[in-house]
Structure formats: structure tokens, C-alpha cells
């Protein structure tokens, strides 16, 4: 039996087979080399060229009056923005131009992935390092305004400039009678459908608002194009669109005490009651139709990436960026659009992200200047080059022809005639989280009435909690 011996405490060095060693080393060296090659060349090539910006002859924002003196002293603005395309390229280019026009104002852009935006805002605020300018989702503006996180902007903006914005954009960012945000674009959903699927079933969806489908009609059509290996409809970003569909079961013209009106309104005018609104009978019936769609496999209950362009679903309910994806990434797919279906009243949600200013900023003038500059006429024209969605300013929307032609003409019509902002509720993050859970539960087969009633009462509890601690 061989006797292991100690040789001054050192273990004998491992001796792997010579060939193993050589081939492993070579593999290692090659992969490291390739990797470094990628990294270094990427680093060197990564300075993308900026698109040319035609400097306007007049300043983009009038800095007389309330903004007088902005930009005289060197100031650094912290700007919390969404990360990814097109904000990375677009906002960076715009910031470069802004800093060219206002050399003493430096903008430090902190790009944050969307799902982390709200958590990071809270973390930074709680650690006393809040950003000066925040780019947040429309409905969240009300929430943050209610928590006194944001600065009211009315004193800084002349009325005639405000009127250039679509009323919905202003309404979405208003809380307690004050304006807290400036929107750069708008967004409404359309139903994008595959021509091959619908033609094979002999269905021609309506192409104008006047003849738009109701949801029961859409249900029948979608059922016909559903196959064992293909869904009928993919609702991208679930709750964001679904809530608007549910509201269309109500009637904005009904008397304000009727359940039909409440179903449409979603929340009482004083912002304190949701019971009777979020769980109105009309809403429950509408949700039942969606549950039937899940049960009959017309809609997938778990997300499928790019379901419609890859042929896994016959139709998509999505906003203008869905069109962008079809055009840019799936050019071979033949598709068309039909207006978003409705239950009782033609209605869709609108709204998008907005520039807001922190209430605790130490550079209010510069921060407001930046927010106004990014959403000025020239600013939004520039932004449209990066993000082709309906601008929030009427004058800018009128400078482009694309909204006179299908499909974007349908976007504009829907927006102007039948859209309204999402409900403004001071506990928006809680509301969204609870809504998402409710939708998941309903898609899993839970009883709709029980779920919606429980949902409304949970939101009500959170709302009551809020109002009891905030006057």
C-alpha cells in the first residue's frame, strides 16, 4: 500500500495530462483573445456619431419672466431618465444640443431600466439625493404629486404655450388643480392583425372608427382565427391596455350617480372612492368576456414574445411602437389595423411619459428650463426623429404628414375623438400591482365577480390609508 508522505507540508502540484493542458490552454487563450478583441474594438468603435441638429434661430424656450436668470450660474442637473432605445440615443442627442445652447448648465443623465424606475426614485429620495428632473409615466405623476415629490409647473409656463399641448396631456399631469408634468408624446392602442390569418377565415375587420368592432364582435372574429397552435389575440403589456378596455363598458355621458358612469370613470371625482367604480357591474361583465377569451385559448395567459409577428397570435393590441416593431423587425409580415374594440362607448386610454421637476431641487429655474426645452416645439420635433409617436403638441403633430395616412391616421382619430388619460389615483403603484395580480388571477380561472370586488376593496383600503395620512 503506497504511503502518502509529507514533503514540507506542500501538496504535490497537480499534473493533468499534457495534451489536456495544451488544448485547454489554447481554447482558453482563444476565447480570451476573442473576448478582448470584441471588448477593445467595441470600445473603440462605440463613439456613435450624433445626428445633425438644426439649431433654431430663436431660443427654444423664452427665458424672460419666471425663468429669468436661468443658466447664468454654472449648475449641474441630475436627470433621471428611462434607459434603452430610443431614450439613450434621442435624449443624449437632445442633451448635447441643450448644453450647446446653455453652456453653463450641465445635465447628468442617470438612465434607469423602466421596471426599476420607481424603486430607484424612492431610494434616491430617501437617501436625500433626489434627481432634479424626472421622466416618469403619466399616471405616476399624480401619485408623486400627491406625495409632494414634484414641483408645480404652472408659475413657469405662459398660458399660450400650454394651449399647444393636447388637453389630455395636460389633464394627465394635473393634480389638485396644478400642473406637474410636461409630456413629450402621446399613445393610443390599435388592433394590428395578420392579413393571412384573417383572410383565410374570410374576415375583414373594420377600417374606420365609425364601423369599429365591439368586443363581442371582436370575440367572434378572434375565435374564428384561433387555432390549436395559434392564439387569436395577444394583449401586449396586459394591464396597461386592459383597464382602458374595461372602462369602455361604461358611459361618460350617463348621469354621474349611475353605475354606467362610474364604470367609465374608474374613480370618484374627489379621488377618494373606487368601490362601485372599479367593480361596477358593467366592468365585471366586461372582464368576464376577457376571461372567456383566456379560457377558450383565444388569448395566452402567459406572455409570448412577439406573438403576432411570429405567427403565434393572429392579432396584437398595442400602441404605435408595435407598428414600429412590425415595420423595422418583421418587414415580411403582411398586416393591417383596425380600431381598438369597445364594449359600450368607444373609448381607449391615452398617455405617455412626462418630464417633471423635483420639489426638492435646488435649481428650480434650470430644471424647469430643461423640462420645458425638451418638450418645446423644436424639442418635440427633434424627439420625433427618434421616437415616431404622436407628439403631445398639436403644432408639432401638424408638421408631419404621417398622421394623415393609415395606419397613423387611425391613431390620431382615436386619440382625438375617444381617448382619455388613465385614472389619476394617488396610490398608482399599489393600484397597478393589485390590478396585475387580479388580471393574473382572472386569467387563471378565478371567479370574476369575487376577484374584482376584492380588488376594489383592497384598492379602497390603500386609498383610505393614503388619505388618512395625507391631507
Amino acid at each position: 500500500m503506497p504511503k502518502p508522505t509529507a514533503r514540507n507540508g506542500k501538496r504535490s502540484a497537480p499534473q493533468p495530462h499534457a495534451t489536456d493542458q495544451i488544448s485547454r490552454r489554447r481554447l482558453l487563450r482563444n476565447s480570451i483573445g476573442a473576448f478582448l478583441g470584441f471588448g477593445i474594438s467595441g470600445y473603440l468603435l462605440s463613439d456613435g456619431s450624433q445626428p445633425t441638429v438644426h439649431a433654431a434661430t430663436a431660443p427654444w424656450v423664452d427665458t424672460t419672466g419666471p425663468l429669468e436668470g436661468a443658466g447664468r450660474e454654472p449648475v449641474t442637473l441630475r436627470f433621471l431618465d428611462e434607459a434603452g432605445s430610443p431614450w439613450d440615443e434621442g435624449h443624449e442627442a437632445m442633451i448635447t444640443e441643450f448644453q450647446r445652447q446653455y453652456p453653463s448648465i450641465k445635465v447628468q443623465r442617470n438612465a434607469m431600466p423602466f421596471t426599476e424606475l420607481y424603486r430607484q426614485i424612492q431610494t434616491q429620495v430617501a437617501a436625500s439625493e433626489p434627481p432634479d428632473v424626472l421622466y416618469i409615466d403619466g399616471p405616476a405623476v399624480a401619485s408623486f404629486a400627491a406625495e409632494n415629490v414634484l414641483l408645480p409647473l404652472n408659475p413657469y409656463i405662459p398660458a399660450d404655450d400650454l394651449h399647444d399641448f393636447y388637453p389630455s396631456s395636460l389633464e394627465e399631469a394635473t393634480w389638485g388643480g396644478k400642473l406637474y408634468g410636461l409630456a413629450s408624446e402621446q399613445s393610443v392602442p390599435l388592433l394590428y392583425y395578420r392579413l393571412d390569418a384573417f383572410e383565410a377565415a374570410g374576415i375583414k375587420p373594420p377600417d374606420s372608427l365609425a364601423t369599429a368592432w365591439t368586443w363581442p364582435q371582436a370575440f367572434e372574429a378572434l375565435k374564428k382565427v384561433t387555432k390549436p397552435d395559434r392564439y387569436g389575440l395577444d394583449l401586449i403589456s396586459g394591464q396597461y391596455l386592459l383597464a382602458g378596455c374595461l372602462r369602455s363598458a361604461g358611459d361618460p355621458k350617463a348621469p354621474k350617480t349611475s353605475s354606467a358612469y362610474k364604470a367609465w370613470a374608474g374613480i370618484s371625482p374627489d379621488g377618494r372612492t373606487v368601490v362601485g367604480y372599479q367593480d361596477a357591474p358593467e366592468v365585471i361583465r366586461a372582464m368576464q368576456l376577457f376571461q372567456d377569451m383566456w379560457k377558450q385559448n383565444i388569448m395566452p395567459s402567459s406572455p409570448i414574445p412577439d406573438a403576432m409577428p411570429t405567427g403565434r397570435a393572429a392579432a396584437w393590441l398595442g400602441a404605435e411602437w408595435a407598428e414600429g416593431k412590425l415595420v423595422n423587425k418583421y418587414a415580411s409580415v403582411k398586416w393591417s389595423v383596425t380600431p381598438a374594440p369597445y364594449f359600450h362607448s368607444p373609448f381607449v386610454h391615452n398617455g405617455s411619459l412626462a418630464f417633471t421637476v423635483s420639489a426638492r431641487t435646488r435649481h428650480a429655474k434650470e430644471a424647469v428650463l430643461f423640462a420645458r426645452w425638451m418638450t418645446s416645439r423644436s424639442g418635440e420635433r427633434l424627439w420625433f426623429q427618434y421616437n415616431p409617436q404622436l407628439p403631445a403638441r398639436r403644432s408639432v403633430a401638424n408638421t408631419t404628414d404621417v398622421y394623415k395616412r393609415v395606419p397613423k391616421s387611425l391613431d390620431l382619430q382615436e386619440f382625438e375623438r375617444e381617448s382619455a388619460p388613465r385614472i389619476r389615483i394617488p396610490i398608482y403603484t399599489q393600484y397597478t400591482a393589485l390590478l396585475n395580480q387580479t388580471i393574473t388571477n382572472v386569467s387563471a380561472g378565478a371567479d370574476v365577480k369575487t376577484e374584482m370586488t376584492a380588488f376594489a376593496s383592497k384598492v379602497q383600503t390603500a386609498l383610505d390609508d393614503f388619505w388618512s395620512t395625507h391631507k
Binding site: R7, L28, G42, A83, W87, Q108, T123, P309, K329
Partner: protein
Amino acid sequence: MNSAHTPESILRRVGLALAVLVIVLVFLAPYEWLVASAFKPYADIFSGVFSLSVWTFVPRRPTLVNFIAVFRDQAFGRYVFNSLLVAGAQVVGTVLVSTVAAFVLARVRFPGRNLVFGLVLVMLLIPFDAIVIPLFTTVRTLHLQDTYWGFFLPWIFSPFGIFFLKQVFEELPTELDEAAIMDGASPLRVLTHVVVPNVLPGLATLALFTFLFAWDAFYWPLVVMSDDTKQLITVFIAKQTTSQTQFWGNLFAASAVATIPVIALFVWLQRYYVRGIMTTGLKD
């Protein structure tokens, strides 16, 4: 005695071969799908998944567009560099700190030893969400936010590392230490010349784990770093999912590239996993 052809041993071989096949399929196939998708044009990525075919795992129209997009248009190379730097520093720091602390906890019998170890363990137990804001405040007080240090400095004092190495050190018999001490070695010398050379698999494992933790770190880098030029790969991958859409091509290309350093490190550390002859001076 040649036992190679008994029914029992054949059954064993077949069983093992089957086990290997299953393992390779279950664990390897998804990774292969990731790599293949990185080389597919965007439209092919998901069209090839549902109807499972060879084209799920092999790109029908291989292309480098995704890689070009991330490296040239989105400066991915910078993120790779940052992640390598931070992860490397975290590995070095963690191994050094943990080795020193674990050595004392494992070898030196000092009063309060168990209490210290217990406290170290407790620190491992708190969920991150509860401490993120106090930690951020601490880091800001030290002016480490927006610096590379802020990424890794709080984490090199790792209860996990100390715990793990303590177990590893305790596995090592003390005879060699005692021999060295009788020869007049100081504790430090015992550590560096006796203990460390004999626990290389343990150190390699800790290095690998620490690299993995650092490499996968997402939430803390978001909190501590607001300068995008210093940000890490995980954040790059996360921003391929926006409020509007997902850039799958970029996501897969970046993810595939992100796996290269961890795999390379794993391959390189294989040499420490050779089960060699353990020289211990034991007599039979």
C-alpha cells in the same frame, strides 16, 4: 480481478451513459439555444422556438448583426470592461479578506470565537431590500457613489466567503500546521505556506462564486452608479426591455457574450479540481 464485463458493471455503464445524456440535454440545450439565437436575425429568434426543430439550435441564416448592434451602436464593450474590472476586484478583495478572517476563526482558539462566527453568520441573513437604503447612505457618506469602489467595496467583507473558507480550513488537518509551528513559523507564515497551498480547490471555488455574484449583480449597481459610462453588463441587458418593447436580438447577443468570462474562469480553475494525492503524513 477484472470486473469489467459482469452484468452488474454493464448495467452501471449504461445507467451512467443515460444519466450523462439526460444531464447534457437538460442543461446544455438551453444554453445552446441562447448562443444560437444570438446569431440569428431578429425575426428568426422566436419563430424557430415553438415548432421545435434543428433550426431552434442552429441559426438558419447566421448573422452578426446583433453583435454589431450591441458593440458598435450601444457601446457594449464599455460595459464588458466595467464588469470585468469590478468583478475582478471583488474576487481579489473577497478572497483576501475571507482567507484572513476564516483562518483565524478556524485555527486560533480565542475567547469569543463562536460568538464572532455567529455574528458573521447573522449578517448573511438580512434580505437586501431592507438594507439597501442604509447601505446607500453609508456609501454616500464615504463618497463612494458613482465610483468603481462603490460597486464592490461593501461586498468584499463577505459572510458567505468567511463561512465557506472556515469550513474548508477546518477540513484540513492541523498536523501540518503544528509541524510548521514547531519549526518556528508565525501564524502568518502558517497561513501562507501551509494552509493556502493545500486548500486551492476551496479558494478556487470561492473565487468562482464571488465572480458569479459580482457578475450577476444588478440592483446594487443601479443604486450606487448613476454614470452610464461606468455601468455594468447586467444593467445593459436590463435596458433591452423598455416600457414599450424588448430588443431580443441585443439581449441574446449581450447575454451570450456575458457568459464567456464566467465560463473561461471556470475552465481555467479546473486545474484546481484535480483530485490529487493528498499528502498528509497519515500512516495506515
